[in-house]
């Protein structure tokens, strides 16, 4: 197999003249009965360029890249390699054609050394010396004699990249490569990727971290809800220019968000009632990354959104507010008491393992948090009745209360969970990513239900989607590295833009003060 052709730096700046190394047109994939994971997606990857694919969790990025590298078979669409139609039937075939992907979860054999793992991938023996030469040439230093179990996550990632190179990969796809790296390792990875691109390879990175693209990307595409929202964007004013962060963010969030009108028209703003949730100097149980001195106050009749890029501590914060995790330090009270299942209706992000038990019926799942939780006898009748009501209230597509939770699609299960939690009429409602993976119609139903609940309860909405936050919430708190770095009223001018910059950690905006931030809005 011939090695990739080196690309002059000038080539990078004038993409329009080159033809893409790998491209796809109309790629479509649906898993099970769920919404379309990828909906007629087009993309071009060029030699010599680093392409960043941006999008929220569940936007379809990984599915798209898995289809390019043969891990997932598309339902429809065409792929072109060097402008010839091509169908990656399996990862092995894609690898033979020079396409390789590094997944978020590595596929290394821990008991073997780095060199042995490389040999397995390359299909030929590779001496440790040859392996370490290869590693040094690329700028990914690694001791190939060490067993994988002894390697750090960063070193394992290098080994995965070397595996692709040992098979002469011309197209390298990396899924969230920085998520396993310490901050100082990220620069080294980017340098190596740049070198690989300059040698004539196409590099594609998946990320949802807006802040990371600035230094590394030659091109950016943005996915949202399975669609390609913007394709092959370039920097403002040429290769050395800046990225228009606000524009990228708008593509990520989308402009049209159902539910906006529902709030403005349906519910005239009422003065917030008594303070339901009080959090003071709250710290998560797993160190500062999981909440560091968070102060919040939320009143009855008010929606507070907590917005952040995934992995900034909002999950741990939601678990504490939802009464599932105990704070390590700080005070937390709901109407003056410790949060429990009676006081807090909580919708966690994990639908299948946490919010429901997959192999139990909907009646039984109803009894997890709602319906007849008192008394020694387990009332299946009460569960069934409540489950039927929940199914009706949000029009869950389920055959009945005896249906197993795992038989529901992700979106329908989410609607069922929401209906269950709303049925409790608890004074505090905490919801994590409530509309992730739902189709547009379900999203608007869920939004309407949240706004209905907010008339009588205090609502905390944890989301990665600034547009959703702005459309539902009265106030928006932005969380970054476990801290609330800003608190905005949703009707402030250019709120979306400011939220975007705060989420990316680009603006060290005033830290939210304890009582003040809680009371404004």
């Amino acid at each position: 197999m011939s090695g990739p052709r080196p690309v002059a730096a000038a080539d990078r700046m004038t993409p329009n003249h080159a033809s893409p190394l790998l491209s796809c047109r109309g790629l479509t994939k649906r898993f099970g009965g769920g919404p379309l994971a990828c909906d007629r997606v087009d993309l071009d990857l060029f030699a010599g360029r680093i392409h960043v694919l941006l999008g929220e969790n569940g936007a379809g990025k990984s599915t798209l890249m898995s289809m390019l590298s043969g891990w997932v078979r598309p339902d429809a669409g065409t792929l072109f390699l060097d402008e010839t139609p091509f169908f990656p039937r399996s990862p092995a075939l894609a690898a033979r054609k020079g396409i390789g992907m590094v997944h978020q979860r590595f596929s290394l054999i821990e008991a073997l050394s780095g060199a042995e793992n490389l040999a397995l991938a390359a299909g030929r023996a590779l001496s440790p010396r040859a392996a370490s030469d290869l590693a040094r040439r690329i700028g990914l230093p690694l001791d190939p004699r060490k067993r994988v179990a002894e390697l750090s996550m960063g070193e394992r990632q290098r080994l995965e990249i070397l595996k692709l190179l040992s098979r002469d990969a011309r197209i390298l796809i990396l899924d969230e490569p920085t998520s396993v790296l310490a901050p100082m390792e990220i620069g080294g990875l980017y340098d190596a990727l740049r070198r690989l691109a300059d040698q004539g390879r196409a590099v594609a990175l998946i990320t949802h971290k807006l802040s990371e693209i600035a230094e590394v990307a030659d091109e950016v595409s943005v996915m949202r809800h399975g669609r390609m929202a913007a394709r092959n964007l370039t920097r403002r004013g040429g290769a050395s220019g800046e990225w228009d962060t606000a524009e990228l963010l708008r593509h990520m969030a989308g402009r049209e968000v159902p539910g906006v009108s529902a709030k403005r028209a349906g519910a005239p703003k009422t003065a917030p009632g008594e303070i339901v949730l009080r959090a003071h100097a709250l710290c998560g149980p797993d160190g500062p990354a999981a909440g560091a001195g968070v102060n919040l106050e939320v009143a009855r009749g008010e929606v507070l959104a907590i917005v952040g890029v995934a992995g900034n501590g909002q999950g741990a914060l939601a678990a504490m507010l939802g009464g599932m995790a105990r704070p390590a330090r700080g005070e937390l009270s709901v109407l003056g008491r410790r949060p429990d299942r009676e006081l807090v209706a909580y919708v966690p992000e994990d639908r299948h393992g946490t919010a429901t038990v997959a192999s139990m019926t909907l009646s039984e799942n109803m009894l997890l948090t709602a319906a007849g939780r008192r008394g020694a006898v387990f009332s299946r009748k009460a569960g069934a009745r409540a489950a039927e009501q929940a199914i009706d209230s949000l029009r869950v597509a389920a055959s009945g209360a005896d249906c197993l939770a795992r038989e529901l699609s992700g979106g329908n299960l989410q609607k069922f969970i929401l209906a269950r939690e709303l049925s409790k009429s608890a004074p505090l409602l905490v919801m994590e990513q409530p509309t992730q993976g739902l189709d547009a119609l379900s999203v608007s139903e869920v939004h309407a239900a949240i706004l209905r609940a907010a008339r009588t309860a205090a609502v905390v909405l944890v989301t990665g989607d600034p547009a959703e936050a702005l459309s539902l919430a009265d106030r928006v708190a932005v969380i970054f590295k476990g801290r609330i770095v800003g608190m905005l009223g949703s009707d402030e001018p250019d709120a979306l833009d400011r939220i975007g910059r705060l989420m990316a950690g680009l603006v060290p905006e005033r830290h939210a003060g304890a009582g003040r931030a809680g009371k404004e809005g």
């Binding site: 091509f86 169908f87 039937r89 075939l93 599932m324 946490t354 038990v357 006898v377 387990f378």
Partner: protein, 364 residues
């Protein structure tokens, strides 16, 4: 070039189908491996099977012996099955069985002469329940508080219990009038479990049957049982629902220990009437196989216990008539367990022969 390969794929099958398939496969595997063991032990295979079946079902006496064995096996099987619903492994039913027997024996030995049965027997049974539960409390707390594997702690404590029992009947509790035989004196009749219909079968059997219904009710119809099943299926969901994994784990393990302790008391108060060698003959360990054959369903446990009881009674016959080593039956039991696990695995899968033409991958 055409290549053939056998692929294992998962498939959706109804729970009933799975149950039938796995039990059937268990029996087939046991039949096959058992025959192998018989042949290796030097027996003639078909004659050995005939002797086994005749030994188990051949006479009224052997049938009552099966019922006699089924009572403790039901209780130890329930002990294991109950814990399995919380995804816990109680491998210590043998030790809890012993401690139940020891506690009941202590009550019997310290009872003033002339006590009525309506006081003595309930007291001895209550002591057995408390003893079995107390013996599993340690592993339960270690598991719930510190995450220590209950498999290891309960397994190892079995040997402690067995040695402690030996110490008692060789030492402090030895019958002074026993002419040197190791064992306690015969317990007063006030603590005996009365026999049924003039046979050796005692009230332990209806008690065990009643408890299998009670355990089923507990798991299927009470809030505690619901919480326990949620914890077993998804600890995350249990935490979300606010169920306390510590208290559920500890209560379940103690209930389990109490059931095994009752089994020990049944053997002591219903059959042996004194603490002596041979009281603990592996009925606790066999409970694991009973629970598995019953697929953890408390209502099916008595049936599985009957089956295993038959195997044990038939095996006695093999040893006395054909002079085959007792280990042959242990092998048969092991084959049953392995066959069952294989069945559980295969019942959810299907084997398919895959024919693929390789070599034209590059074509597209």
């Amino acid at each position: 070039m055409i290549s053939l390969r056998l692929a294992i794929e998962s498939r959706d099958s109804s729970p009933l189908m799975r149950a039938v398939l796995s039990v059937l496969l268990a029996l087939v595997a046991a039949g096959f491996l058992g025959s192998l063991a018989f042949a290796l032990a030097g027996g003639e295979v078909s004659a050995t099977w005939r002797a086994l079946i005749k030994g188990a079902l051949g006479s009224g006496y052997s049938l009552s012996e099966i019922l006699l064995k089924a009572a403790p096996l039901t209780l130890t099987g329930l002990a294991v099955a109950l814990c399995r619903h919380l995804n816990l492994w109680n491998i210590g039913a043998e030790g809890q069985f012993v401690f139940g027997a020891l506690s009941a024996c202590a009550v019997g030995l310290s009872m003033p002469p002339g006590w009525p049965a309506y006081l003595g027997l309930p007291l001895a049974l209550a002591a057995a329940i408390a003893g079995g539960a107390a013996y599993s409390l340690g592993p339960a707390l270690l598991k719930a508080r510190l995450g220590v594997s209950e498999i290891l702690s309960t397994l190892l404590l079995n040997y402690v219990a067995l040695l402690f029992m030996e110490h008692l009947y060789f030492g402090p509790w030895r019958d002074p009038l026993g002419m040197g035989f190791p064992g306690t004196a015969e317990l007063p009749q006030a603590v005996w479990l009365p026999a049924l219909f003039g046979s050796r079968v005692h009230w332990g059997l209806p008690l065990a049957l009643g408890l299998s219904g009670a355990v089923w009710l507990l798991l299927a119809r009470t809030r505690w049982g619901f919480s326990a099943r949620v914890l077993g299926l998804s600890p995350q969901a249990a935490a979300y629902a606010g169920f306390s994994s510590v208290s559920l784990t500890v209560t379940a393990m103690c209930l389990s220990g109490a059931l095994a302790g009752l089994a020990g008391a049944g053997e002591l108060l219903g059959v042996q009437h004194r603490l002596q060698d041979g009281l603990a003959s592996g009925l606790g360990f066999t409970g694991i196989i009973v629970a598995f054959l019953a697929r953890q369903n408390p209502l099916a446990v008595p049936l599985a216990a009957l089956f295993l009881g038959g195997l044990l009674v038939g095996a006695d016959q093999l040893q006395t008539e054909l002079r085959l080593p007792g280990a042959v039956i242990a092998t048969l039991q092991a084959a049953l367990l392995f066959g069952f696990m294989l069945g559980e695995f295969l019942a959810g899968k299907r084997l398919r022969l895959k024919i693929s033409a390789s070599g034209n991958d590059h074509a597209s």
